[in-house]
């Protein structure tokens, strides 16, 4: 066994654009897809691990999130408030497109906690919005005829009150 402890070991990740990121193995554990790749390799992984579906912007954000959360968790008491503030800033700093791109990356890399946080963030975004807003957000085409849509709306008349109109 080498004298270097597990937490000091660095893993190198390579994004679509070819940017290299050095990541501590303790952080890499949260990227379950990467961890699975490491576990499956017989030898120590020395060359950069390619991530064909992940862009630099997304990986940078994910690592920022993980590094900060590790810091909050290993620290002392007050971390909960700091963490909440960080999370709020993190969510606000992204446009809707960036948010969706990050979800795709977090899903590919299998970063559970972050993915759950991002899902909740999107849920918050669409909370009091109209159906048309939601269609635009997710890029969905309406395949209902106007009559069918009218009928469905009437079935749940009361639920449409107090929501942004289209």
């Amino acid at each position: 066994m080498s004298g270097i402890s597990d937490t000091e070991r660095m893993i190198t990740l390579k994004t679509v654009e070819g940017t290299l990121f050095d990541v501590k193995s303790s952080i890499a554990k949260d990227l379950k897809t990467v961890q699975a790749f490491i576990d499956d390799s017989d030898d120590d992984v020395t060359s950069p691990i390619p991530l064909p579906n992940v862009f630099t912007r997304e990986l940078s954000r994910i690592l920022d999130y993980l590094n900060n959360h590790h810091r909050f968790r290993s620290g002392i008491e007050k971390a909960d408030e700091e963490m909440a503030r960080y999370d709020a800033e993190f969510a606000k700093s992204m446009s809707h497109e960036e948010l969706k791109a990050l979800i795709l990356a977090a899903n590919y890399l299998n970063v559970k906690d972050l993915l759950e946080f991002l899902n909740q963030t999107v849920a918050d975004v669409i909370q009091n919005k109209s159906v048309e807003f939601v269609r635009n957000f997710f890029g969905i085409e309406n395949d209902y005829t106007p009559e069918e849509e009218e009928k469905l709306r009437n079935e749940n008349e009361w639920a449409f009150n107090g929501v942004e109109q289209d």
Binding site: E97, K100, A101, I103, L104, N107, L115, N119, Q120, V122, A123, I126, Q127, V131, V134, R135, F138, G139, I140, E141, N142, D143, Y144, E149, L152, R153, N156, W158, A159, F160, V163
Partner: protein
């Protein structure tokens, strides 16, 4: 249609996001497109969403100027909102009382003895057809117990009730009837090998595919030192929805619990029951609350059955000590809901108000602020010894079961 920077999330990721949304919004989103309508209405999504729901609500029957109505308010607001009074919303369901709740559905009954029942989803406002009661042999005396449960195997909701038919020297004779609530509701009689017994919890507690009631076996009554007091042994009467069979479970301590104070004519059935324990669901566990008189401790003790059906798994989860002000030896208290962080909402006949919130970490007991302009909490029925559970807590769901 899309710029190169735009990305669309695949369906399976979208479904995960939908699970976080409240029921009312999901109803709207059924009109996004056919695939969303199909998915949001699917049994799998509905059940998954219900399990994830973080919107518990408190409902109760209130006696308004025009008669009964059902009121609801947010449990989270009662627990955490110390700054603003909690708003109470009338549901405009008149003349019916709540006799059970399960998977976000409320079972409403009309008349006493029950004439008919209706299922209602307060979140989606879905209302079922009215189902008339069919008592065997015209046996329509006042119900002894009832409950709404869910048969997961057949995906059907069932209502079970039992009424006294005759009171014999040895105890009661009676029959239980079960109604399967689907497009063709049907009533049938179910065997009762457990008799005789008395029950208190009029409306059953549904957990783990079973309905549960507190009962006591009159053949096991024992005399106390006081000739006008009997000691009663309580047990939990269970009804499994899938097999439609009755059973029993032991309480945490296998000994005599309650006391029955007999009036001078020594007639058991008109006695005064002291300190009946109450059954509830807390954090998805079957839970029982003991009043301090039982074990002579100066605290209410709340137990949960960590593994349903395993009597050894009864564990104390919370003790609520007397604090000399709100919680005193003269009260009785019934837990209603316990949050993830163990903050408790309870109901009781306290000096100043009926609801209280207990935060064990801060050793704090407070009465949550209610917006009394919307309801003065004139809960019906008003007395502890009347029929039924007063409060029900339900978790939002999109469940509906038959047209």
């Amino acid at each position: 249609m899309h710029e190169s920077d735009e990305c669309d999330l695949p369906e399976d990721l979208i479904w995960e996001i939908l699970l976080w949304l409240p029921g009312r919004l999901l109803l709207l989103l059924r009109t996004v497109c056919r695939a969303w309508n199909s998915f949001i209405s699917s049994h799998e999504f509905v059940m998954h969403h219900h399990q994830r729901s973080t919107q518990p609500r408190l409902v109760y029957c209130s006696l308004e100027s025009e008669g009964l109505d059902i009121m609801q308010c947010s449990v989270s607001s009662l627990l955490y909102n110390q700054l603003q009074p909690t708003r109470i919303e009338p549901l405009h369901i008149k003349y019916k009382s709540i006799q059970g709740s399960c998977n976000g559905l409320l079972c409403l009954c009309e008349g006493l003895p029950y004439k008919n029942l209706t299922l209602f989803n307060p979140c989606t406002r879905w209302v079922s057809l009215i189902v008339p009661f069919e008592y065997p042999n015209g046996d329509d005396r006042h119900p002894v117990f009832c409950g709404l449960g869910y048969d997961a195997l057949r995906n059907k909701y069932k209502f079970v009730t039992c009424s006294k038919t005759s009171i014999t020297v040895g105890g009661l004779g009676s029959r239980a009837i079960v109604c399967t609530l689907d497009a063709n509701p049907s009533w049938k009689t179910v065997d009762h090998p457990m008799f005789p017994y008395f029950t208190w919890c009029h409306s059953g507690t549904f957990v783990n595919g079973t309905l549960n009631w507190i009962a006591h076996d009159p053949s096991k009554n024992r005399e106390d030192d006081d000739p006008f007091r009997l000691l009663l042994e309580y047990f939990i009467l269970t009804f499994e929805l899938e097999t439609e069979s009755f059973g029993r479970l032991r309480l945490p301590r296998n000994s005599f619990f309650g006391r029955l104070r007999l009036p001078r004519n020594n007639h058991t059935l008109s006695g005064f029951f002291e300190d009946v324990p109450s059954l509830h669901v807390l954090k998805n566990f079957l839970s029982i609350c003991f009043h301090p008189a039982y074990d002579n401790t100066a605290a209410y003790t709340i137990w949960i059955m960590k593994e349903y059906g395993v009597e050894e798994s009864w564990t104390i989860v919370l003790r609520i000590p007397f604090n000399g002000r709100i919680i005193t030896p003269g009260n009785w208290l019934e837990p209603l809901y316990m949050s993830e962080d163990y903050i408790l909402l309870a109901y009781g006949e306290f000096y100043r108000a009926k609801l209280l919130v207990y935060n064990f970490r801060r050793r704090e007991v407070v009465h949550p602020m209610i917006d009394i302009s919307s309801d003065s909490l004139s809960i019906y029925p008003l007395s502890k010894f009347s029929y039924g559970k007063f409060f029900h807590v339900y978790h939002e769901s999109l469940v509906s079961c038959f047209p």
